[in-house]
């Protein structure tokens, strides 16, 4: 037996034509609003966690660029001193 066994079943086809009972529209809106509130809370929590992370990323980025700059500057000074014969 495979999934195709039931493809042309007339009884299952009759079942697929049953109309759906309608849900209470006001209750559906209340549920949607409740879920929106939970999602908004999740977003705020996510942002609250992201702000310090972003700040630290900026600090680390600046430190890394400064270290690179110092490294190249030191190299340039050494090369200049060699060229001047000291």
């Amino acid at each position: 037996m495979t999934d195709d066994t039931f493809d042309d079943d007339p009884l299952l086809a009759d079942l697929s034509r049953l109309s759906d009972p309608g849900a209470d529209a006001r209750r559906a809106e209340r549920t949607r609003a409740r879920c929106h509130r939970i999602l908004a809370h999740r977003r705020r929590e996510r942002r609250a966690w992201l702000v310090p992370l972003r700040r630290w990323t900026q600090v680390l980025e600046a430190a890394f660029v400064s270290a690179l700059a110092l490294f190249f500057l030191e190299g340039a000074i050494q090369r200049a001193l060699v060229l001047l014969g000291r």
């Binding site: 999934d3 079942l15 049953l18 009972p21 209750r27 949607r32 879920c35 999602l39 977003r43």
Partner: protein
């Protein structure tokens, strides 16, 4: 819904995007309500369980894996909630009439006779479904009413595809025999299971 679209929606939901939630909500809320309504045979309980299903989605969205299909996940949560509800109820029988089936929507095409015949068929199917045990009813609902493949329905029910297909075949034959018996006065069985081999599942 295509898997790539679902994956994108889940990512947006994880980020707390309400518009992504609205898309999922509109895509599945009617189907989930119809499923719960027929599975529990109780509109009020179906409303409560539907709300709980959506609340679980938004509160447990982080547990969804990339390969998880939203429809299977939502139907599985709804199904498990419905079974917990059914287990907690002592009086697990409500007649199909209590479901207040909606008015049958009629195209301009069919004749009044066709309309009445279709409505009568719907009523008999609803009664047959309502009279079945929940384990048989759920497979007919998932595959027959909601168009899932037996393999997808197996994921929802937490059984192997083979077991699901066997259960589906048994449920389908019971319902067919029950409908046939309804056509002959005096041979009416109480439930579709009276027309078939009653086996206990779960």
């Amino acid at each position: 819904m295509a898997p790539e679209i679902e994956r994108h929606l889940v990512e947006r939901l994880k980020a707390g995007d309400e518009s992504a939630f609205d898309l999922v909500y509109e895509a599945y809320r009617h189907r989930l309500f119809a499923f719960l309504c027929r599975l529990t045979r109780n509109r009020d309980a179906a409303e409560d369980l539907l709300e709980e299903t959506w609340l679980r989605l938004v509160s447990r969205i982080d547990t969804l894996r990339d390969e998880t299909r939203l429809a299977s996940w939502l139907f599985a949560v709804a199904r498990n909630l419905a079974f917990s509800h059914l287990r907690s109820r002592a009086d697990d029988f409500v007649s199909a009439e209590d479901l207040n089936p909606p008015e049958y929507e009629v195209d301009a095409g069919p004749s009044p006779f066709d309309t009445i015949a279709a409505r009568e068929m719907d009523r008999r199917l609803e009664r047959g479904l309502a009279a079945m045990s929940a384990s048989y009813r759920e497979v007919l609902l998932l595959v027959g009413v909601h168009g899932m493949s037996p393999t997808e329905a197996a994921v929802v029910c937490g059984v192997t595809p083979d077991a699901l297909r066997q259960r589906l075949l048994r449920a389908r034959n019971m319902l067919a025999r029950w409908l046939r018996n309804q056509d002959f006065a005096g041979q009416t069985a109480e439930t579709p299971e009276d027309c078939g081999d009653r086996r206990h599942i779960r």
